[in-house]
């Protein structure tokens, strides 16, 4: 069963580049990604550029609107994701608990819709 683990956090809440904590934090992410790969669970996973780089598009009645910024102005923003293949929600929750940002932000777990 495939699950999307969406990583939300307040930008600037975790360890920042240039601090002593940053190295181990990035190391923990690399370790987690490698572990998921080794266990055959990783389908993909990426980090996103900050919301300052976001552009939001919509088309209504044929009219295109392009807006600078994210879809929703919230404190916690989507910062990255993992797409995993695991047995069930319990296993997905366990993986999510190992994502380093879980201690600073929140991980939303959503099953992938299956159309068959």
């Amino acid at each position: 069963m495939q699950f999307m683990l969406l990583i939300y956090s307040k930008e600037g809440s975790g360890p920042q580049p240039g601090t002593d904590e940053f190295g181990p934090f990035i190391g923990a992410y690399m370790g987690f990604t490698q572990k998921m790969k080794d266990e055959g669970k990783l389908i993909s996973g990426e980090g996103l550029q900050p919301v300052a780089t976001a552009t939001t598009l919509s088309i209504r009645d044929g009219k295109t609107e392009t807006v600078d910024g994210p879809f929703a102005e919230t404190k916690e923003q989507l910062g990255g994701y993992y797409l995993l293949d695991v047995a069930d929600l319990d296993e997905a929750l366990k993986c999510a608990a190992e994502i380093p940002t879980v201690s600073y932000g929140r991980i939303e777990i959503r099953p992938i819709a299956v159309y068959d």
């Binding site: 069963m1 319990d90 929750l93 099953p111 068959d116």
Partner: protein, 415 residues
């Protein structure tokens, strides 16, 4: 609800007693709780039609399982118009499920069912409702009545919860060993919520399903499934011992009756006996958890022939242990009450104020009610009256307001 014939009532009772086990067995066949429930419901309808004329079958369980399974296969065949893969897999599982004749040897899957219903990914009220429906066999209407909800609203809540279980990937299985302690705690919390909801209801609400009894029944199921779990036993003991005193907590007209004035002769000795036996087992087996400690305190109250001869020193010691595990205002206030009888009100008040200094108690009603009582018993009546006023301002239940006002009036009179 239309009144049932005695035969129907007997069948309904039998089905409710067995509901959780039947449903868990069926859910285990196909992994789909919603489908299992629908088919079991179909089988029950068939039973209510057939049994009054044919008489009870030799093995009603096997009859229901066989019928429900046939209904499931029918439903899946009918639904497979789009011939989806998941449907085909489900059908295969139902077709290859063990025969009902093997039912006696089928493992009890109620524990899997309990963990599924109490999964932390469901919201709390849904966990409570789903546990009552699936494990306890209550109808949606009964659960709705118990929570003073509309039947439709409760129906939607239950349907949503079952949909989430299926779609979110909550599998019908036992938690991994490393998750077990947390998950059992979650189950115990759900049972205790059901129990407390039952005790909130006033006795004149006859329509209200007896949730306290249901919680105790669920507690018995859980201790059967988890015989070595001490806190599961502790909770069952706590519920039995608390419930034993239920009838005496409210006086005529629903007036609140404190422990001191309760008619001990009317306490349910059967429940007290069962509760005490469980407490003794748990205390012998290892360090007690929060439920076992509260049960032990309740047992000491229950075995005291009258209020004055209560073993308050022992109760204070148990509250101290409880405070270490669970430092919250409830424990703080109850400990102060016990201390006031073990030693004196002045020592208890000092302790209450010293320990309570770091807690946010200004809006906590029992803190002020307790302070008022401790002050009054020392003869500090003016301060007591002020504390009673604080407590009254924070009280909602009319019977408790009446009780506090009477106490305050007594202070004013003596003064």
């Amino acid at each position: 609800m239309p009144s049932q014939s005695p035969e129907d009532a007997q069948i309904t009772r039998l089905i409710r007693e067995d509901w959780g086990r039947l449903l868990s067995t069926l859910t285990d066949f196909g992994g789909d709780l919603a489908l299992a429930e629908d088919c079991l419901q179909d089988a029950v309808v068939a039973a209510l039609q057939a049994w009054p004329t044919t008489g009870l079958p030799d093995a009603p369980d096997a009859w229901l399982i066989t019928t429900a399974r046939r209904k499931a296969i029918d439903r899946l065949r009918r639904a497979r118009t789009q011939a989806d893969k998941a449907g085909a897999v489900a059908l295969w599982h139902w077709q290859h499920a063990p025969e009902a004749e093997e039912l006696q040897t089928l493992p009890d899957k109620r524990l899997e069912l309990i963990f599924t219903c109490c999964h932390p990914a469901l919201d709390e009220k849904s966990r409570v409702a789903l546990t009552l429906r699936s494990v306890g066999g209550l109808t949606t209407a009964e659960i709705a009545a118990a929570f003073l909800d509309k039947k439709e609203t409760m129906g939607i809540r239950l349907t949503r919860a079952k949909k989430k279980i299926a779609a979110a990937g909550i599998r019908f299985r036992l938690p991994d060993p490393e998750d077990l302690p947390d998950r059992v705690d979650g189950v115990l919390k759900v049972l205790y919520l059901i129990f407390n909801e039952g005790h909130r209801g006033s006795s004149d609400q006859l329509m209200r399903t007896d949730l306290a009894e249901e919680a105790i029944r669920l507690g018995r199921i859980l201790t059967t499934c988890l015989p070595d779990h001490l806190e599961a036993k502790g909770l069952l003991a706590l519920m039995l011992l608390t419930d034993a005193r239920r009838l005496t907590r409210k006086g005529p007209g629903g007036a609140f009756t404190p422990l001191e004035q309760q008619a001990r002769a009317r306490w349910d000795r059967g429940k007290i006996h069962q509760g005490k036996a469980l407490v003794e087992q748990v205390l012998k087996a290892g360090p007690p958890g929060v439920y076992a400690l509260q049960a032990a305190i309740s047992a000491l109250h229950a075995e005291a022939p009258d209020f004055a001869s209560t073993d308050w020193t022992q109760i204070v010691a148990l509250y101290d242990l409880l405070w270490k595990l669970q430092p919250n205002p409830v424990v703080l206030v109850n400990c102060a009450v016990a201390q006031s009888y073990a030693t004196n009100p002045s020592t208890a008040l000092k302790q209450l104020e010293a320990t309570g200094a770091g807690q946010h108690l200004q809006t906590y009603q029992p803190y002020h009610a307790c302070r008022a009582d401790l002050l009054a018993r020392q003869g500090r009546l003016e301060e007591a009256i002020i504390a009673y006023d604080r407590a009254i301002a924070l009280t909602e239940a009319p019977e408790e307001v009446a009780f506090l006002k009477a106490r305050k009036a007594l202070c004013a009179f003596v003064e």
